[in-house]
Symmetry: C2
Subunit: 159 residues, 2 copies
């Protein structure tokens, strides 16, 4: 058994192709890939500071500054000093930012839906559920070779 291909071997070209499809959409709306990721992280409000943002989107905190500068200059986000800790900058997505994010997202997901429509429904549903479950896993759970903990990736049992 296990005569299948490695996951990365299949995921890599898939991701490449998806990104290639996204790039023109992003360019048409004047945002970069990182910019789009930033808007996404800010949209749900779970991220406030830049350090938290970098952590959330898996980017280097020194590398997102230019992205934030541009987003701010375009009026898609605001960066205001935290009155409680004036070292930190509170990041907020503006209405225009939400609008851009929504437009890009709609186009990207419409494209993805057309792609997913080519899969059998059962596989498609399983694919999305599995992907979401894997996405929720902390990075170390995937990276570490000592997967001694066999907690299911779905329905995590807290505590």
């Amino acid at each position: 058994m296990t005569s299948r291909r490695d996951l990365a071997e299949m995921l890599y070209p898939l991701l490449q192709s998806l990104i290639a499809a996204e790039v023109p959409v992003l360019a048409a709306h004047g945002v970069s890939m990182w910019g789009y990721a930033v808007l996404g992280a800010l949209e749900d409000g779970s991220v406030r500071t830049q350090a938290a943002l970098a952590e959330a989107i898996g980017a280097d905190k020194t590398r997102i500054i230019g992205t934030l500068d541009k987003l701010q200059a375009t009026g898609l986000i605001t960066r205001t000093p935290d009155p409680r800790d004036r070292r930190a900058r509170i990041l907020t997505i503006t209405d225009e930012g939400r609008e851009v994010r929504g437009s890009v997202r709609a186009e990207i997901q419409a494209h993805e839906e057309r792609l997913l429509a080519r899969l059998p429904e059962a596989d498609r549903d399983g694919f999305l559920r599995a992907l979401e479950a894997l996405h929720r896993l902390p990075r170390e759970d995937i990276t570490d070779r000592s997967s001694l903990d066999r907690r299911p990736a779905h329905r995590s049992n807290p505590a």
Copy 2:
């Protein structure tokens, strides 16, 4: 509907984590990521020349040369001029190459199995089937926005 995340948003960190898990294994066996991909492409014998190889693994043909040099120097592949077209080099994986490829692959897939074991079986099966189907699609089918053709990704109906 479609309140889900973008595919790339979920695939990107997943791939990053998988690669991070693979790197130590590859290093332990003295092959690079591209080297491993080359061995994989050569293993099934569908690729003979360097140009075909570059095409197969989605790499630049000028960039794989160093990889091939190293694989050849390590004795994992052979590069012999094609007697019928002495411009071309016939690539062959050696027994030792097969062995290294097999070892690395076993380790990587064992790790992947442990990861996939955390998913519900139905989702896992659908995930793998969908991934394989998407992997079989030609790149343009994913990239192009004009997905006028709605052929299912599974059971392709040839002509």
